[in-house]
Symmetry: C2
Subunit: 166 residues, 2 copies
Amino acid sequence: MNIEEGKQTFIQAWGTLGSDWGVNRTMAQVHALLLVSAKPLSAKDIMDQLKISIGNANMNIRALIDWGLVYKKIIPGERKDYFIAEKDMWDIIKKIIAQRKKKELDPMKKVLTQISEIEGEGEEVETFKSVVQDIQSFSNKADNALEKLIRSDESWFLSTLIKLMK
Amino acid sequence: MNIEEGKQTFIQAWGTLGSDWGVNRTMAQVHALLLVSAKPLSAKDIMDQLKISIGNANMNIRALIDWGLVYKKIIPGERKDYFIAEKDMWDIIKKIIAQRKKKELDPMKKVLTQISEIEGEGEEVETFKSVVQDIQSFSNKADNALEKLIRSDESWFLSTLIKLMK
DNA sequence: TTATATTTTCAATATTTATTGAAAATATAA
DNA sequence: TTATATTTTCAATAAATATTGAAAATATAA
């Protein structure tokens, strides 16, 4: 396998993974392309390599910048914007987790707090309360763990993982 | 808030969370409905409560059974099948993780192995190899951790979480 | 066995989500 | 300033995904 085939395969796979995770496939592909590119790429480069329109390229590049996964890189003498991906895998993971926590876990916790205060008695109410409580308890633990993870550096995480594996 | 409002809110929120996770929204809603129901429900009950068609109900119930999140419950004297949800939150989490690992992490690991063997030299090749290696290293660690998690009981998980929080 | 209830399938349809590309806005060079 | 390159927006369109419900298959009761 040569480098071009390798890149293509990676972009494809990263795009599929993105889809599975509820992330726009093209956004994941743009991310993949920038990840494996040694040099900064312009919107035009991305359009050409992924065969997508200018609007699509623009929107997904901006989404990646919002997520903190891609940075603008100004090249002196060049009129176009260029882009580079954050390559530190630990940083990438933390940023993705932070985004998803904010979008998914935080709203769910809010809902759970609301519905944990329902009134009434009987089997249905007991079952409901019990399920909600269990999910709440898990959500809170996950929240703490993720919050800590987002604030940690990789060495802490790795040593924790090693202990965890014992 | 009364029980019916509570259930509705929960079903809604669980469905949205499902969408974010690349899971069919209706599948997540059927799961939510069965989770908070004290009694087994028939396909008809589910159709009526979620206002979905028989085909839709059938397909999503079966998907949930495939995931191990829902069981068939035969009620003597009843001709219809009834369904109950697994209510043990730890068991639910493990089953979801197992499914997603199989569908997402395992194929990604395979691709990474393939593309880590590319030929060539130069900056582009070095960048590519380095990114792929980082992802591979992370994937392997995640794989070990998830594999262990799937095989563990909740008490191990909780004590690990507590250590992790220190 | 036959009659009926229930479940399953899947082509047609609806809905949701992503993409395009022209036009508008903005930035840069001269 | 004007001319031109580049970026951004967003309505129209395309593509992907989910849903319906009639027909077929299967299961149960009598």
